[in-house]
């Protein structure tokens, strides 16, 4: 604690105290409707943390995180659908009868088990990300080509899920809110939603802690080195393909967890989670919050989504314009994002410009160089 103050990291510490306090206070302050929204936004923050890992630290801009998000959501929804369809004809979810399907498609079977579903939520997206990522990375496809490929993959998945009525109810998606869990409670009930809020908040903080551990040490240095100069890193004896595949899989798995938590709180998963604008929105959260700052990803996701829901209630048509404007503002004026700006020289420069703080007389470097001469 004392060390944190010494290193002038106390603003960040304060931020964390505020975040935790807000999370603890939220269930008793907010009405269930708002609490549910906050819970959803926190699940999106998990996705944003993954994007920050691959984009902010490693420099991989993925425009296809919606794939993994939706896969996690579908995995959760399939289990919940099966769970509530035991009393129905054939014991299979209701929508199947609409399309004349009377036996469960084979890949639904294992989702009867809650343990399998819990594992599939993160493992399926992570494995898919590892596979896709490895194919792309081993062929040394980088930069904007990687982004285009991920977006193309997103479109493929979107169209596939949209068209498969007989397998996963196509464009209608899978509903989860009427499922009964733990005996009596419906998933959509206030108690369950409160529980999911707590679960999501805990997962966000756990994920943040794990990622901080990942990016702090030499592993994180390798990621930054990949972002800065990947060929050079190869000649230092590292295999960037392996590192990139690993972080892309982690980000995919996190998107899956976020997707599952989002699905149970919104009550439905549908191919709409795989639209192009939604995946781009995810990237904007991280850009606005601050690439390479994990707190920035969380705050970016939650605050932009909260602004979106407030603005959409007041002025339904205007959100797209505001979001676009926000993105342009960040790209031109705050390339480091809000948190990145606060951590850098931003606040001091602003104070100087406003005349509150005094301009620094000399180059800080000059002073340092002078000290070195004395020492040598």
């Amino acid at each position: 604690m004392f060390q944190a103050f010494q290193q002038r990291r106390w603003p960040l510490l304060l931020l964390w105290v505020l975040i935790v306090a807000a999370i603890v206070a939220a269930p008793s302050v907010l009405p269930v409707f708002r609490l549910n929204l906050l819970g959803r936004f926190l699940s999106l923050a998990i996705v944003a943390l993954g994007i920050d890992l691959i984009w902010g630290f490693t420099g991989l801009l993925s425009l296809g995180q919606g794939i993994f998000f939706a896969l996690g959501g579908y995995a959760a929804a399939m289990y919940l659908q099966l769970n509530s369809s035991a009393g129905l004809p054939n014991g299979i979810p209701e929508f199947f009868s609409l399309y004349g399907v009377d036996s469960l498609p084979f890949f639904w079977e294992p989702f009867r088990s809650p343990v399998f579903a819990l594992i599939a939520i993160w493992l399926v997206p992570a494995l898919l990300a590892a596979l896709l990522g490895n194919l792309v990375f081993r062929n040394r496809i980088k930069g904007v080509y990687f982004s285009i490929l991920t977006q193309a993959a997103l479109l493929v998945f979107f169209n596939f899920f949209n068209g498969q009525q007989k397998l996963i109810n196509g464009t209608n998606g899978l509903k989860t809110d009427v499922t009964v869990l733990f005996g009596q409670m419906e998933l959509g009930s206030a108690e369950m939603q409160r529980g999911f809020f707590w679960l999501t908040a805990i997962v966000v903080i756990l994920v943040w802690m794990v990622l901080r551990w990942v990016v702090r040490g030499r592993f994180g240095d390798v990621l930054i080195a990949i972002r800065d100069d990947e060929p050079r890193l190869r000649f230092a004896g590292y295999n960037p393909t392996l590192f990139k595949t690993i972080v892309f899989a982690i980000a995919g798995g996190l998107a899956g967890i976020g997707g599952a938590l989002y699905t149970v709180q919104s009550g439905i998963v549908s191919p709409q989670y795989m639209t192009v604008p939604f995946s781009i929105e995810m990237v904007i959260w991280v850009a606005v919050g601050g690439r390479g700052t994990l707190v920035g990803a969380i705050l970016g996701a939650v605050s932009i989504m909260y602004a979106k829901s407030l603005v959409s209630e007041a002025l339904p048509q205007s959100w797209q314009f505001i979001q676009g404007g926000l993105f342009i503002l960040v790209v031109t004026a705050l390339p480091e994002g809000v948190i990145g700006w606060c951590q850098g020289d931003g606040p001091r420069n602003l104070l100087t410009r406003l005349g509150v703080s005094r301009r620094i007389g000399t180059y800080p470097r000059l002073e340092m160089d002078a000290k070195e001469e004395v020492n040598s």
């Binding site: 990942v214 040490g217 030499r218 592993f219 240095d221 390798v222 930054i224 080195a225 972002r227 800065d228 100069d229 060929p231 050079r232 890193l233 190869r234 000649f235 230092a236 004896g237 590292y238 295999n239 960037p240 392996l242 590192f243 690993i246 470097r365 340092m368 000290k371 070195e372 020492n375 040598s376």
Partner: protein, 250 residues
């Protein structure tokens, strides 16, 4: 004859019919310091690309420590003991000097061991020692991007040394350095030879002379001649293709 550490056997590289290297033969003994010169377009950098696995030769074989390097990916060649310094300094600008060196000395360079283990005390001492060699201790926690051009060159050279390679390939280490820095770099490279085998590519004749070592002249992707600096400067072939044009510089 002692066995060579590195042997290039009849290497040819063709880019759509243009022969960047043709029938190149070269062998380096352990502990040797070798300078390679040649006019622009002589194939100096291509030849490093072949050794480090960035480029696959059209014909020929590269043998290092008795093993062919053909088809090995770059990072395996690097782990096998070949370090390369690039023409313009390439350090990781958003990492501190210490972190740059930590990446170089870390072993093994696998994801899991990087996550779960810390630098050993020996590795930490080595990092301190390497910073001392090039007088960067004061800058240990400064971002490498904020170093001067010469300091970046040196940082990159000690990063190479930190990798503990058997062979160091150094591409134009003194481009853009002051005279004083050039002299220090020459001394540094000379002190590295012996423990390591060092191959230096340079344009700067004065610098090559200071290395006091065997020189290989490349011309149009081919070895034109080999010998000491004085022998080379008397060679009529070399005078014609290389020194003839830049006599006053030599």
């Amino acid at each position: 004859m002692t066995t060579a550490l590195l042997e290039l056997r009849q290497i040819s590289v063709s880019f759509d019919g243009f022969m960047a290297l043709r029938d190149l033969n070269l062998s380096l003994k352990p502990g040797e310091l070798r300078a390679v010169i040649g006019p622009n377009g002589a194939g100096k950098t291509t030849f490093l690309d072949v050794i480090t696995g960035k480029l696959r030769p059209t014909e020929g074989d590269v043998v290092f420590k008795g093993r062919s390097l053909l088809g090995m990916p770059e990072h395996r060649i690097a782990r096998f003991g070949i370090g390369r310094k690039f023409q313009s300094p390439r350090v990781f600008e958003n990492l501190s000097v210490r972190e740059n060196l930590a990446l170089a000395v870390s072993l093994p360079k696998r994801p899991l061991s990087l996550l779960t283990s810390d630098l050993t005390a020996t590795q930490r001492d080595r990092i301190d020692h390497l910073m001392e060699i090039v007088a960067l201790q004061q800058r240990a926690n400064q971002m490498a991007g904020s170093l001067s051009h010469g300091q970046k060159q040196w940082l990159e050279i000690v990063m190479l040394v930190g990798q503990a390679p058997d062979l160091l390939l150094v591409d134009e280490p003194v481009a853009g350095l002051t005279d004083e820095e050039t002299d220090l770099t020459a001394d540094l490279l000379k002190s590295l030879a012996g423990d390591h085998t060092v191959l230096v590519i340079e344009h700067d004749m004065e610098f090559i002379r200071r290395l006091e070592t065997q020189v290989t002249v490349l011309h149009q992707g081919h070895v034109l001649c080999e010998g000491s600096m004085d022998q080379i400067q008397r060679d009529p072939g070399v005078i014609e293709v290389y020194l003839g044009a830049t006599e006053e510089a030599a």
